[in-house]
C-alpha cells in the first residue's frame, strides 16, 4: 500500500523489453540496483515497471544485452504535472480549493453534545454561543479551558466535562451529577390541605391533628390536617406546631365532554408526488427549481442532509429534499355504531392521557346523545385519588382550629 503510494508519487514507467535474452537484461538491471516490479511475460518478450530514476540507467543495459525497450505508459504524479505544466488557471484552481477547504475547516460547523439528560441542550448551546463557541466560530480562537470552567460553574448538574474540536465538529462530552435526593423537610411546621375537591374515603395521619373524617366533602384548599394544635397541660394550654403528615384519599367525579361528528374527511393519497430541493449555505436558504406544487391538498415532508468530509468535517452546507404528496379529501360518514365505538376509545385515551397515574378508576359511565349530524358524549369518571398537599401554616388557621374544637 505505502510502496504503491511512493511509486505513484515518484512516478514510474512501464516498458516492453524485446530481444534475444531478456533474462540477461533483468539480471543486469537488478545488479545495477534498479528496482523492477510486476514483470510479466508477453509473447515477444517481457514488460515491467521501473522507476524514473532507474529508467535512465536502462539504456546501458539494453546496449550491452542487445535488447530493445519501448515505453508503454508513463504513470505517476511527475508525469501528470508535466502534462499540465502550462495550465496556470488549473493550478490556481487547485491551490484555491486547497486553501478554501483549509479555511473552511478552521471553523466549527457542528456542535455535538453527548451525555446530557437533565441539562437542556438548548441552554448549553446558548451558553456556549455566548462564550464564543457557536456554529461558524473560528476554531483556533475558542478558549477551551475558560469555556470548560465557565460551563462547570454555570451548570451545577455537570460533574465532568470535556470539550474537544475534531475537524469542524466540536464535541462537548459531559457526565451529570447524581441528582441530590429530595429531602423531606420534617422540621418546618406545615398543614395538609386538599389538592382537589372530593369525598374523603380514607385518612391516615402520621403527624398533626386531623380536621376532617371519612365521608366528609372537602373543597380544594381546605385544611385536612392541621400542623398547629393546642394541648391542655399542667401549666395551662400549650400551642404546638408540627410538620403535619398524612395520606388522604378522596373520591371525585370527573366529566369528559366531547362530540363525535358523523361526517369526516379522509385523506386518500393520489400517488402523485413532487420533489423540490433547497440548499442552505452559511445559514442562508436558496431554493432550487422551486415551483408551485399545483396540488390543492398536500403533505410536505422534508429531509435534511449536511454535507461533510468524513465524520469529523461537516460543512456549512445543508441539503434539503422536500416531498410533496398530494391527497384527495373524501367526505365519509360513520354509522352511529361506529361513532359509539370511537367515543369509547377516545374516552379511554383521554383517561390515560389526562388522569394521574396513581389514581384509581372506580367507575366509568358514558352517556351518549344522538343528534342528526353528531354524537354528544358525556362521560363521568369516578376516581379515588390522593389529595393531600403540604401548605405552610398561615396566621388564620388558628381560628378554624378553635372553632372546630368548641
Amino acid at each position: 500500500m505505502f510502496l504503491w503510494l511512493w511509486q505513484i508519487l515518484k512516478g514510474y514507467v512501464r516498458i516492453d523489453v524485446t530481444g534475444f535474452s531478456v533474462e540477461r537484461f533483468i539480471n543486469m538491471a537488478a545488479h545495477k540496483g534498479i528496482y523492477l516490479w510486476d514483470v510479466t511475460y508477453t509473447p515477444s518478450g517481457v514488460s515491467m515497471n521501473v522507476s524514473v530514476k532507474g529508467f535512465k540507467q536502462l539504456r546501458e543495459c539494453a546496449r550491452k544485452t542487445k535488447c530493445k525497450f519501448r515505453i508503454r505508459s508513463k504513470n505517476g504524479v511527475p508525469f501528470i504535472f508535466y502534462k499540465y505544466r502550462k495550465r496556470k488557471i488549473l493550478l490556481g484552481g487547485i491551490l484555491f480549493s486547497v486553501v478554501f477547504i483549509y479555511l473552511l475547516s478552521s471553523f466549527v460547523w457542528l456542535i455535538d453534545i453527548k451525555g446530557n439528560d437533565r441539562v437542556k441542550r438548548e441552554q448549553l448551546l446558548a451558553f456556549c454561543a455566548n462564550e464564543g463557541l457557536r456554529i461558524g466560530a473560528f476554531k483556533y480562537k475558542i478558549n477551551n479551558k475558560q469555556l470548560k470552567t465557565n460551563l462547570m460553574n454555570n451548570f451545577h448538574d455537570i460533574s465532568w466535562l470535556d470539550i474537544h474540536i475534531k475537524g469542524t465538529r466540536a464535541v462537548i462530552q459531559l457526565t451529570e451529577t447524581i441528582p441530590a435526593p429530595q429531602v423531606i423537610d420534617k422540621t418546618t411546621p406545615c398543614n395538609i390541605v386538599a389538592a382537589k375537591d372530593g369525598l374523603i374515603t380514607s385518612i391516615v395521619t402520621g403527624a398533626g391533628k386531623p380536621m376532617v373524617k371519612r365521608d366528609d366533602v372537602v373543597r380544594a384548599g381546605d385544611i385536612l390536617v392541621s400542623g398547629e394544635f393546642t394541648t391542655e397541660g399542667d401549666n395551662g394550654s400549650v400551642t404546638k406546631r408540627v410538620h403535619a403528615y398524612s395520606e388522604v384519599w378522596a373520591k371525585m367525579y370527573n366529566e369528559i365532554n366531547f362530540e363525535v361528528p358523523l361526517t369526516y374527511d379522509e385523506k386518500t393519497y393520489t400517488g402523485n408526488s413532487k420533489k423540490m430541493f433547497s440548499v442552505q449555505i452559511f445559514g442562508h436558504n436558496y431554493d432550487l427549481f422551486h415551483t408551485d406544487s399545483g396540488y390543492a391538498n398536500y403533505i410536505r415532508g422534508a429531509r435534511h442532509t449536511q454535507l461533510n468530509f468524513g465524520e469529523d468535517y461537516p460543512l456549512p452546507i445543508i441539503w434539503t429534499a422536500y416531498t410533496y404528496r398530494e391527497f384527495q379529501p373524501e367526505a365519509r360518514t360513520r354509522t352511529v355504531e361506529e361513532a359509539r365505538e370511537l367515543a369509547e376509545k377516545m374516552v379511554n385515551a383521554r383517561i390515560i392521557r389526562e388522569f394521574d397515574f396513581a389514581a384509581d378508576i372506580i367507575d366509568k359511565s358514558i352517556a351518549l346523545q344522538e343528534t342528526p349530524d353528531r354524537l354528544i358524549v358525556k362521560a363521568l369518571i369516578t376516581t379515588n385519588e390522593r389529595i393531600d398537599k403540604e401548605a405552610p401554616i398561615s396566621e388564620q388557621p388558628r381560628e378554624i382550629t378553635d372553632s372546630l374544637e368548641t
Partner: protein
C-alpha cells in the same frame, strides 16, 4: 567441499548462525502455492509465464506453474507470484 568450507559449516551449525548469510545459501520462502520469495540468487536464466529458472549458489532453481509473474526484482531478492505447481533444484 574443501576443508575451509567444512570448518565454516561446523562453526555455523555450532553457533546456530543464519546459514543463508554465512554460507551464502539461497533462502526460499514459499507462501502456499501463490508466492515464492528467493533471497541470495545469482541471476534469472529463463523467464516465461509457465517456467522460471533462477541460478543460485546451489544450482539452478526451477519453478513451474501458471501465470507466473516476477513481482519484484532487486539485486538480492526476487519474488515470484502466480499458481506455483513445482519447485525443483536441477
Amino acid at each position: 567441499m574443501g576443508k575451509r568450507e567444512k570448518v565454516k559449516r561446523e562453526i555455523t551449525e555450532a553457533l546456530a548462525l543464519p546459514k543463508e548469510i554465512v554460507l551464502n545459501l539461497p533462502l526460499i520462502t514459499l507462501y502456499g502455492n501463490e508466492e515464492l520469495n528467493l533471497e541470495n540468487y545469482k541471476g534469472v536464466v529463463e523467464y516465461t509465464d509457465e517456467r522460471i529458472r533462477i541460478s543460485t549458489s546451489r544450482g539452478i532453481l526451477k519453478i513451474e506453474g501458471r501465470n507466473l509473474l516476477l513481482k519484484q526484482v532487486t539485486s538480492e531478492n526476487i519474488s515470484v507470484t502466480g499458481g506455483i505447481v513445482r519447485v525443483e533444484f536441477m
